[in-house]
C-alpha cells in the first residue's frame, strides 16, 4: 500500500474549446472540454487540469462555465488555472467546482498571493506552476506563457513557493514542452528533491517510457500531458498498464 503515481491530462482551453499548439503558437481546436474530460475519467485519469490559456477578462465567464460543466461530470479532482491574479479569481474557479487552483505569473509578480490562497483554501488547493528553462548551470523561471525570463532560479522559487504555502508544484520544462522528446528528468529530479511537496512533471511526453523514466529517475509524483492524450497517441489506460508492468505504483482503471 503506497501512494500511486498520478497521470494527469491537461486541457488548454480558449473559452469553451480545448486548443493545442506547440510553444503557444499555431493553436488549433482539439475538442469539447466536457467530452474529453469524460473520456479521460473513464480511461483512468487520476486528476484533470483545465487551463485558460487566453486568460482574458472578457472570456472569463465562458471559462468558468467550462469549469462548471467539467466539474459536474467528474468524480476525480479538478485543477483550474490561467489568469488567476487575485483571491477573488481563485474563489470564482473554486466556486465553479475546481478543487485546486494553479498560479504562475501573478505569483512571481506578487508572491504573497500564494499565502493568501493557502490561508483561504488550504495548501492542498494551491498549485504553484513554474515554467523553467535551462540557462547555463541552472534553470530560470519563465513567465507570460514561457516567453519572458523572471531572472529567478527555479529551484529557489519552488522552495519559496512551498514556504509561502503552495501544496504542490506543477513544473513545466520550457525546453521540452511540445517537443515530445520526453520529460526533463534533471530539472524534475532537482526540483522534486529540493521541496517537501509533490511535484507534477510537465512538458515533452510522448512514449510510455518517458513516463516510467520521470517517475523512477525524475522522482516525479505525477506526470501531466495534453496533446498525446487528445490525439490518441497514448491511451491513459494502456499507459498505466505499461507502468504497472514496470513496477511503478499506479491506480489501474477497472
Amino acid at each position: 500500500m503506497s501512494l500511486a503515481h498520478r497521470i494527469i491530462p491537461c486541457l488548454d482551453t480558449d473559452g469553451a474549446r480545448v486548443v493545442k499548439g506547440v510553444n503557444f503558437v499555431g493553436l488549433r481546436d482539439a475538442g469539447d472540454p466536457v467530452a474529453l474530460a469524460t473520456r479521460y475519467n473513464a480511461e483512468g485519469a487520476d486528476e484533470l487540469v483545465v487551463l485558460d490559456i487566453a486568460a482574458s477578462r472578457d472570456r472569463r465567464p465562458t471559462f468558468l462555465e467550462t469549469i462548471r460543466r467539467v466539474a459536474a461530470e467528474l468524480a476525480i479532482p479538478l485543477t483550474a488555472g490561467g489568469g488567476i491574479r487575485t483571491l477573488d479569481d481563485a474563489r470564482s474557479v473554486i466556486r465553479a467546482g475546481a478543487d485546486k487552483v494553479t498560479v504562475n505569473t501573478a505569483a512571481v509578480a506578487r508572491p504573497a498571493l500564494i499565502s493568501e490562497l493557502s490561508r483561504e483554501f488550504g495548501a492542498q488547493a494551491v498549485v504553484l506552476a513554474i515554467d523553467a528553462k535551462r540557462v547555463n548551470d541552472h534553470w530560470d523561471v519563465m513567465v507570460r506563457g514561457g516567453r519572458d525570463s523572471a531572472n529567478r532560479d527555479a529551484l529557489v522559487w519552488a522552495q519559496q513557493g512551498v514556504e509561502l504555502g503552495a501544496g504542490e508544484i506543477l513544473l513545466t520544462s520550457v525546453d521540452r514542452d511540445g517537443t515530445q522528446l520526453g520529460f526533463d528528468t534533471p530539472l524534475t529530479s532537482a526540483v522534486s528533491r529540493a521541496v517537501s511537496v509533490p511535484v507534477i512533471a510537465s512538458g515533452g511526453a510522448k512514449l510510455p517510457e518517458h513516463f516510467a523514466q520521470i517517475f523512477s529517475e525524475g522522482a516525479a509524483d505525477a506526470a501531466l500531458a495534453a496533446s498525446i492524450f487528445h490525439d490518441n497517441v497514448q491511451s491513459i489506460r494502456e499507459l498505466k498498464q505499461y507502468l504497472a508492468t514496470r513496477n511503478i505504483e499506479v491506480r489501474l482503471p477497472c
Binding site: 500500500m1 503506497s2 501512494l3 468524480a75 466556486r95 488550504g122 492542498q124 504542490e168 511537496v197 509533490p198
Partner: protein
C-alpha cells in the same frame, strides 16, 4: 431522506453536493443551528485548515446542535477535516477544542514523506466495515491532507499509510468519517457514499 450538508463557508461542499446528486440523493446546504436540529442525516465536508472549520462551527453556534444531533443517533458522515474534527484536538491548531467524540488528537504525518499526502492510496481493513461494503479490497481513494489521526485507540475500521499508518475510515454507531474524499474518488467513492445513504435511510 434529505442529507444536510453543513456549509461552513469554506471547503468542498459543491463537490460533495454534486456527488450526492449523481447518486440521486436529495441534499441541502445549511449553516443554521435550527436546520441542524431538524436534520435527518448530516454530512460535514471540509478541506483546508482545521482552525477554519472549528472556528466556523463555533462562530455560527453549530457545535451544540451538532453534538446534540449525534447523541440522538442522527447518521453523520465526516469527510477529511470532518473526520479530524471528531477528535479532542489537532496539532494544526492546538488552541482550539475539537468535537471530542473520539479520544486522542490529530497530528502531522511524518516529515520523512512528501506532504500534503496528495493523491490515490489504498486501505487496510482492521475489521468489517459497513461503509466499505461492496468496495474491492484493493480500491484506491483520493486523499489531500497533511494531518491525520494515528488510531492509537483502535477506532478506525480501515487504515491507510503515508509515512505512517493513520485512520482512514471510522465507524462508531451512527458516526461515520473518512479521511479521503469519496466525492473525488471515482466509483469506489460513489459506492461508499451510496452505502452511507443506505445506512442513513
Amino acid at each position: 431522506m434529505n442529507v444536510m450538508l453543513i456549509d461552513y463557508g469554506a471547503g468542498n461542499v459543491t463537490s460533495v453536493e454534486r456527488a450526492l446528486t449523481r447518486l440521486g440523493a436529495r441534499s441541502q446546504r445549511s449553516h443554521s443551528p435550527e436546520c441542524i436540529v431538524k436534520a435527518e442525516a448530516l454530512l460535514l465536508p471540509g478541506v483546508g485548515h482545521y482552525a477554519a472549520l472549528i472556528r466556523a462551527l463555533d462562530e455560527r453556534a453549530l457545535r451544540a446542535p451538532l453534538l446534540d444531533a449525534l447523541q440522538r443517533g442522527i447518521p453523520f458522515l465526516g469527510v477529511c477535516l470532518g473526520l479530524q474534527a471528531l477528535y479532542e484536538t489537532s496539532e494544526e491548531a492546538p488552541e482550539l477544542a475539537g468535537l471530542d467524540l473520539l479520544p486522542g488528537s490529530v497530528r502531522s504525518l511524518p516529515g520523512t514523506v512528501k506532504l500534503p499526502h496528495m493523491g490515490w492510496n489504498q486501505l487496510k481493513l482492521t475489521r468489517p466495515s459497513r461503509l466499505l461494503e461492496g468496495v474491492s479490497a484493493d480500491a484506491y481513494f483520493y486523499f489531500a491532507h497533511s494531518f491525520a489521526a494515528s488510531n492509537v485507540n483502535g477506532e478506525a475500521v480501515a487504515l491507510s499509510n503515508h509515512g505512517a499508518d493513520f485512520a482512514a475510515v471510522i465507524e462508531k454507531q451512527n458516526i461515520f468519517a473518512v479521511q479521503f474524499h469519496p466525492e473525488k474518488s471515482g466509483e469506489p467513492g460513489a459506492r461508499l457514499l451510496q452505502n452511507f445513504l443506505r445506512l442513513a435511510a
